[in-house]
């Protein structure tokens, strides 16, 4: 590990492989050493592919040039154990791979391992994983967030060059925020869900978790695109995210959300500070009023529980996996609640009301985006919570993700970039940047401008950017 190749950002790694300065094999080996050294304590990976098991490395004519990529364990890979962090699937080897895995491999991504998550992606802490919680590599007394906590931790701990997570409402951005990394939730329908074990089908969005915004742009370009196997993916062309990053944000109109919401005393000042930075780069920033996210908590929870109860109905232990007695408490709670909200006589009161209120959020975003190019808010109300925190409330996840739920139920893209680092705890806060549907380019552009003009990114110095 003397070369510290595991610390390379994806962009830097690709450049060094290209120039012959290093090889993907060496980078992979360094990341793997990092896993071997840290995984026992941090419980980031549920399964790994050792460098010797890797057949690839000889195909450099690809975007990712065989760089090691960590994949959340709710994404199916043919004949590799895929558990969704539940004992229901403890030994399940899918007969097929997710489309995004096909895309990743096509672009030369080498899967270094499958990362831990909240079981079935139910949660924002990784504490509901039936294979034990993941610890935050920045400070192991704290949680990494979730549900893509393993992928965020893998990036934070340099156990991979980049990672893939999935977000239903916060599951990419919130752990990215808590682990001090970059997490991009694409527009719903931008990245195929085919082969991603469904949590809430109407909001599930796979996306990259990376060291820098540029890395996120590189990864998104590899994952995005229409998939004939997923009817909710878009036919729209995938823009060249990487080159669009360089566009100036001068003249962009940016709305600052949620400054009036109580309970955001910790995070909100840093969002204002970030707005100042963006303003100094020529953007016009203004405070905006938006529909209270507390309603999004209700809408999201109802819709998600309903879809969860439906999506988990296939796990009967007949064709694959173990039977329904293996579900953990959180899954049981969600199945029961979702079943209840869809029942005769209750669907009118819960599910249908939630779907109508969802429309109000979509309308509210349309209103805001008619005046603003992007919107910013805190990613999470606060820093990473200490381990065990999720056990205090059955609504832990929903409340931790409150600020991300409005954009998630509206299907909008958003990114979390570090916007503060607490030297004492070594923990981070994240800035959430959102744009209209299909405008990941705008989100990336603003995030990149912010990242390169601030010192919060822990890799930029190491990589001499």
């Amino acid at each position: 590990m003397k070369n510290n190749l595991h610390k390379l950002t994806l962009k830097k790694a690709l450049a060094q492989i290209q120039s012959g300065e290093t090889t993907a094999k060496k980078i992979y080996a360094d990341c793997f050493s990092q896993i071997e050294a840290g995984n026992k304590d941090l419980n980031v990976f549920l399964s790994t592919n050792s460098p010797t098991s890797m057949k690839q490395f000889e195909n450099p004519e690809t975007t990712l040039q065989n760089c090691p990529i960590a994949v959340k364990d709710n994404i199916c890979i043919e004949n590799e154990v895929t558990t969704a962090a539940s004992t229901v699937l403890e030994d399940y080897k899918p007969a097929y791979s997710a489309t995004l895995i096909d895309n990743l491999k096509l672009h030369g991504g080498a899967v270094i391992g499958k990362t831990n998550l909240d079981a079935w992606a139910h949660g924002s802490s990784t504490e509901t994983s039936q294979f034990g919680r993941t610890l935050n590599p920045r400070n192991p007394k704290y949680l990494p967030g979730g549900s893509s906590g393993g992928s965020a931790a893998a990036v934070a701990a340099d156990m991979c060059t980049a990672a893939i997570g999935t977000e239903t409402a916060g599951s990419i951005r919130q752990p990215a925020s808590w682990c001090g990394v970059v997490g991009l939730k694409p527009t719903y329908g931008r990245v195929s869900r085919y082969g991603v074990i469904a949590m809430a089908s109407s909001t599930d969005s796979p996306g990259p978790i990376t060291k820098t915004v540029e890395d996120a742009a590189i990864m998104l370009a590899c994952l995005a695109g229409h998939d004939s196997k997923d009817g909710t993916t878009t036919n729209q062309a995938v823009p060249d995210y990487v080159s669009l990053l360089q566009k100036s944000i001068s003249g962009l109109k940016i709305g600052i959300m949620y400054q009036d919401i109580p309970g955001l005393k910790i995070a909100n000042p840093y969002v204002l500070a970030a707005a100042k930075v963006l303003e100094s780069l020529g953007a016009k920033v203004e405070l905006v009023n938006a529909l209270d996210p507390k309603y999004a908590v209700s809408v999201y929870t109802i819709v998600q529980r309903a879809e969860v109860s439906s999506n988990l109905a296939r796990f009967d232990g007949i064709r694959f996996g173990n039977d329904r007695s293996y579900f953990g408490d959180e899954a049981r709670r969600r199945i029961l609640l979702g079943t209840h909200t869809l029942r005769k006589g209750y669907a009118e009161k819960y599910y249908q009301v939630a779907q109508k209120t969802r429309t109000l959020f979509i309308e509210d975003f349309s209103r805001l985006f008619s005046s603003y190019d992007v919107l910013i808010s805190p990613t999470s109300p606060s820093f990473a919570e200490p381990i065990g925190a999720s056990e205090d409330s059955v609504m832990f996840g929903e409340l931790a993700d409150m600020l991300l739920e409005p954009s998630s139920i509206a299907g909008l893209p958003g990114i979390s970039v570090p916007c503060f680092h607490d030297e004492k705890t070594n923990l981070y806060l994240g800035l959430n940047i959102m744009a209209p549907a299909w405008r990941e380019d705008l989100v990336l552009q603003v995030a990149h401008a912010y990242e390169i003009n601030t010192d919060w990114n822990s890799w930029r110095k190491d990589n001499n950017d």
């Binding site: 007969a95 209700s298 064709r319 039977d323 007695s325 029961l336 029942r343 209120t357 609504m395």
Partner: protein, 92 residues
């Protein structure tokens, strides 16, 4: 709660059910705020992409079809190419 557990097809003991019940009402309590908003003129959103008519042509996709052994590979109980479950009905 018992009906619900049956409807959800969850093998849960009465004791476990009891512990789930408090979480249940705690969550339902949160939803009450939805009555604050006027949705009388609002249409529900079931899908956010606005896409319509995403259909397949009627063609066989051999590439995606599984062999019998692939189809059965993850099942705990199989017999001569079938999946197996305990007898569902008595022969009439």
């Amino acid at each position: 709660m018992k009906d619900l557990i049956k409807l959800a097809n969850l093998p849960i003991s009465d004791e476990q059910a009891k512990s789930l019940e408090s979480a249940f009402s705690e969550t339902l309590e949160v939803f009450k705020n939805l009555t604050d908003l006027d949705i009388s003129q609002t249409e529900p959103t079931n899908q956010v992409t606005g896409q319509e008519n995403v259909l397949r042509e009627d063609k066989i996709d051999e590439d995606r079809m599984l062999t019998q052994s692939q189809a059965l590979q993850s099942a705990k109980h199989t017999h001569e190419g079938f999946f197996v479950v305990p007898r569902l009905i008595d022969e009439k």
